[in-house]
Structure formats: C-alpha cells, structure tokens
C-alpha cells in the first residue's frame, strides 16, 4: 500500500468515507439484532475500501448504481446518513419516504441512481446511464457495483457487450467477496478472475486488491479517464471480503450449518481495510492520532444522532401510498 501518487487530502477523504461506512454499518447490525429494523439487511463491513476508493475517483456528476448490499455505496457517494437511517427504519423522513428500505436507497441529487435488490438488476441500467452521457456529449461516467454472484446472470453478459459495442462511459465494478449467499464463487464459476470475462467483450478487465483503497482509487481513476476519453467501458474486479454473514441474523436459519473456511476467513479478516488504512495514516503521520480519534468520535456521534432521529421520525402517512405514482 502506498499513496505517493495520491494527494493527502484524497487520502483523508477516502479514510473518512471508509470510517463513515464502518460506523454506520456497525450501528445497523446492532439495531437489526435488537429487532429494531424491518426486513433484512446486508452489511458492507470488510468491503468499504472498494466503494470509498471508487467514489473518491468520481465527480458529483458521475453516477453509481448499487445492489442489495448498498449502504456503503450510498455513503461513499456522499449520501446523508440521517436520511439513510430513517429509510432503514421505514420512516417518512427516509430517502425514499419509507417506500424503499435497505435494498432500495437512492439519492438522485448526488448521482446515486438506486440500490437494486435483484441480483444483476443494476448492470443494464448503468449501461443506460452511460448511454445518456454519450448521447448528450456529457463528460459523465456511469459506475455499476455488483457482486461475484451477479456475474453469472445473463444481465452481466448482455450489459458488458452492449456497453462495449457502443463504447459507452461505463465502469463495471465487481465486488468479488468470494460468496453469493452461501455458495463459494469457485463453485459457481470455473475461473478464478471474473476480470477474465472482459476479454470476451473486448474491453479491459483488471483485478485489484479490494482491501487497498489506494489501488482501487488508482484503477478507477484510470478507467474514468478512459471512459471520458470515449474509449469505452472497463471491468474492475475488486477482490474483497465480506466480514459478516450474507444477511444479518443468518445464524438463525443456518441452524448450525457452516459454509465458510475458517482459516480463509481469519486470513481475510486480518486484511481489514479500515485497519490497514488506519495504520497507514498513523505510521505515515498523515494525521496525528488525536485527530484520528476526534474524526472517529465525530462520525460515531453523527451515526448515533441519525439513529435517534430515525427512531423519533413518523411512519409514512397512509396517503403516501397514492403519491409518487404516474405524473
């Protein structure tokens, strides 16, 4: 890990994005286990460097599309944790007025075009976002986050090909956390690197270390440059690790069944993206320890306030069911 080519303010920016995601997700996990959140939640803990590194390389005009595991993407793009938390509680003050929930958060004002609960559902839409930029001669770039599991959906293949044939400014970011639910990626595909699939569509495919936010930032910046230059899409495969279960509370229905290799899990956990970056920033004296602590306590405080505000917010009015329909 090194940041020689990355400005210090970018380093700190990435660090804050990661920290904000981590503290938010820790709070969400706790709330879910306490039975305070409806539905189900899929946490992004362990994968934060991917969203943070990618989004730090984007402008506010660039757009992203996310998945069922989407909280980290929203935060990395600059989402408001108060409105996010309220949405997770299903409250009227949430991003989608309580109509969307954990798997459907969007903030169109910051180019976050929506989280999608259907695996692979976001890729075609991201192609369309890229198409709109191309059509209107805009500089905008479209990014799509998706998992290793999604790379086995037809939509992945069709989307890469479509984006490639039109040379659209789309960046496909595959978060390979090695599992789709309880199925190891290696059981669901006969290749090690999903990036290899890019060759079949005539676009570059790169593998990057998903625990190294700087590397993610670097490969994204290069893909953005390529996209803005009109040279077309890129597939980035970030090798990453999902710290927790597929969904919170999965122990209950696993009923003692296991599906992860403990040794592999321990090894991956040692590569915690927050810890790595924290150590890096401390060792390289980018920010003094007391300032790092202040940063952390400010974020923790902001998350606690978001939870409190969400709790005290009203449920959506029943009339809201008949709002946001046909114009």
């Amino acid at each position: 890990m090194h940041h020689q080519d990355i400005a210090v303010d970018v380093v700190l920016d990435i660090y804050q994005r990661i920290l904000r995601i981590r503290r938010f997700e820790e709070a969400v996990g706790l709330l879910f286990r306490q039975g305070q959140l409806p539905g189900f939640v899929h946490l992004y803990i362990g994968e934060e460097a991917v969203a943070a590194g990618v989004c730090a390389a984007l402008t506010d005009e660039d757009t992203i599309i996310s998945t069922h595991r989407g909280h980290g993407h929203v935060i990395a793009k600059g989402g408001d944790i108060k409105r996010m938390m309220a949405e997770l509680f299903g409250k009227a003050t949430g991003y989608c007025k309580g109509k969307g929930g954990s798997m459907h958060i969007a903030d169109f004002d910051i180019g976050m075009l929506g989280a999608i609960g259907i695996v692979g559902g976001g890729l075609p839409i991201a192609v369309g976002a890229g198409l709109s930029a191309w059509y209107s001669n805009s500089n905008r770039v479209s990014v799509c986050f998706f998992g290793d599991g999604a790379a086995n959906e037809g939509s992945f293949h069709e989307s890469l090909n479509l984006a490639s044939t039109l040379a659209l400014p789309v960046i496909f970011v595959c978060e390979n956390n090695q599992y789709g639910e309880f199925t190891p990626a290696q059981n669901a595909m006969n290749i090690t690197d999903i990036a290899d699939r890019a060759a079949g569509y005539g676009i570059p495919g790169l593998v990057a270390d998903g625990a190294d936010a700087f590397e993610i930032y670097r490969v994204t910046a290069a893909a953005v440059e390529r996209a803005r230059a009109g040279a077309g899409p890129t597939l980035i495969e970030a090798k990453t690790h999902r710290r927790g279960g597929h969904a919170e509370g999965e122990e209950a229905f696993l009923a003692g069944q296991t599906y992860r290799d403990e040794a592999e899990t321990a090894e991956a956990q040692a590569k915690d993206p927050l810890l790595l970056l924290h150590n890096y920033v401390s060792e390289n004296k980018i920010l003094p320890a007391n300032q790092l602590e202040t940063l952390d306590s400010n974020i923790t405080q902001a998350v606690a306030e978001a939870v409190e505000a969400a709790r005290n917010s009203p449920d959506p009015a029943l009339e809201s069911l008949f709002e946001d329909l046909w114009l």
Binding site: P38, M103, G120, N152
Partner: protein, 324 residues
C-alpha cells in the same frame, strides 16, 4: 397424525418423492443449505447429483429444468423468491407451457418450479410481490398455492408426479404454520378446492395466506349474523370452478380475496367466471378484494395497508349484503 410446520411438510414431500423416484432431483441457488429451510437436509440424504446448488442464473436454471424434463427426468427447480421468476419468464412462458402443444404432442414437460410468493417480510418491492396471477395467464402452466402444511405436502407430491409443468408457490408467512399431517402417504389432487368454512350468506373465495384473512373476517361477520362460506382454492390453474359456482348458487353473493395487484388479478378471473356462469343467481354484484394498485412499499405500516386485510374483506361482504 402429527402436527407439523409448513416447512417440515414440504421437506417431507420432497424427500419422499426423491426416495420414490430416482428421476426426481432438485436444483437452485443454495438449496443445499436451504435459504428457505424446506430444502434443508436433502443434500445429506441424496448427495450432490440430486441436490444441485446452481450459480445465480435463473433463466439458465429454469431452462435446464425444461431440457432435463423433456429428456426423461423430473426436475424440481427452486427459484427462491417469486420475483426471481421474472428473470426466467421466457423459459416458462415461451417454452415450458407451450412445448407439448407447439410440437404437436411429441413431448411433455414434467417440471416443478417452486418459489415463495407474496409479501409479509417488509423487504421492499423486489422481494414482496405476489406473482401467481401472471402464471394463471399462461396456457398449460399449472399453478398451486396451498395454505396449510397438509395441503402443501399433498399438493407438492402431486405436482412432482404430474406430467406437466407445475408452479408451486409457498409463502414465508406460512412457514411456521402447523396442521395435522397424516403419517401415511397421501396425495391431494391439483385443481380441487377445500371448503374451509360452510356458510349460507356469502361465498368468500381465496387462496394462499389470505385464506387466514378470510377466515378471520368470517369469524367477525358471524358475530353480526352473517355466515360466510370460505373456499380455499388451493390450486389456481386449473381451479375448482365447480366448487365455487355451487357455493355461489347457494349463497348468491361472491367476494374474491386475492393478494395480487388488482388488474388481471386472480380475483378478476374468479369474479368474471362467477358473473358469467351464475349471473341469475347473484343477489349482489361480485366484489374483489386485492392489493392496492401500487408497487410494494417497504415500511411495515404501508405494506400492511397495501395487502388485503380483514377489514377490507368485511367491507366487501357488507357491500354485497346491502342487496337483498
């Protein structure tokens, strides 16, 4: 007889049929671990050849089920959530249902598709829609949606033995429900309704989880002196027109309760059939109680308001009672 949960009854149906017929196998995402516990434990007994974990590729998996079915196997394809059937739509609508007819009777497709249908877990639009009505609209796809463990087991076993494509829809909200499940082998024929409650004033026709909504409403209505006959169709395609029409001939009033979006809902089909067939015996216009005509919301309060509730059923019955 032992009281068993819905999940346990489904598990038994799958295991018994796999023991009985070596051509029967199961495939889908995480069927080994069992995202819905009904497939749990089957891998331990039957191994990886007959309990196949697949990649997340609904279209290919459903289609592979068809291909295996026309080549002598009897696949059960678990597509997890009903909304994921949308990704396999082509293979179901264009191929599975039509093949036998389209190829002039040369083949048949003994395939079972299974999925959880409908709302109740506050998971938002992508995981909470009921989809049964789409498949009722497709010629030659059978659709079953049992509401009790006993019916679930008997109907699923019939589906596995059926020589045609059958969609078996279960519901997360019914997973923990218990009923008496006979120890001895039994089948429940596809297409036969169950009269859950006899009554002379109004016929309430429904299927799946809303059976319990209808029964709750009937109880309240009874206290007012209105006796509702509650019919659990159990099968949606083909459905038991005879049982429904006989009941309406007796009561003269018809209320269809269905967790579909309203247009072209299952309820629409039942109501139209009743209006066509026994118009002269109706004392009041037929009524439909369905979801509100909006996408599925996440908020539990909103979700509840979208779904047909007991109060909605009671209001519809009152409407029919206003005519004499």
């Amino acid at each position: 007889m032992a009281r068993k949960t819905y999940v346990a009854a489904i598990q038994e149906a799958l295991a018994e049929e796999m023991r009985r017929d070596p051509r029967v196998f199961l495939m889908g995402e995480d069927v080994r671990i069992g995202v819905f516990p009904s497939t749990r434990g089957l891998h331990a007994e039957f191994g990886g050849k007959r309990v196949i974990d697949t990649p997340i590729s609904e279209l290919a998996v459903a289609g592979a089920g068809i291909g295996a079915a026309v080549n002598g196997l009897r696949p059960i394809v678990d597509l997890m959530f009903g909304t994921f059937l949308y990704l396999a739509f082509d293979q179901i609508a264009n191929q599975a249902g039509a093949m036998r007819f389209m190829y002039g009777g040369q083949t048949n497709v003994p395939l079972v598709l299974m999925a959880q249908n409908g709302a109740g877990s506050s998971a938002g639009h992508h995981h909470s829609q009921a989809v049964h009505q789409f498949f009722m609209n497709m010629p030659q796809i059978k659709v079953i949606m049992p509401s009790t463990p006993t019916d679930g087991k008997g109907l699923l076993k019939s589906a596995i033995r059926d020589d045609n494509p059958v969609l078996f829809l279960h519901s997360l909200s019914l997973g923990g429900k218990r009923s008496d499940v006979p120890e001895n082998e039994y089948l429940i024929p596809i297409g036969e309704a169950d009269i859950k409650r006899a009554g002379s004033d109004v016929t309430i026709c429904t299927v799946g989880p809303t059976v319990y909504t209808a029964l709750g409403a009937a109880k309240t209505l009874s206290r007012e002196g209105i006796e509702a006959e509650v019919i659990d169709l159990r099968s949606l395609s083909p459905w038991d027109k005879g049982a429904v029409l006989d009941s309406v001939a007796k009561t003269g009033r018809f209320v269809a309760v269905d967790e579909s979006f309203p247009s072209c809902s299952a309820a629409s089909e039942w109501a139209a059939t009743v209006a066509e067939a026994v118009f002269s015996q109706l004392k009041a216009p037929v009524q439909r109680v369905t979801n509100k005509d909006v996408p599925m919301p996440f908020s539990p309060a909103l979700e509840k308001a979208v779904l047909p509730g007991e109060a909605d059923v009671i209001a519809a019955v009152h409407k029919t009672m206003a005519y004499s």
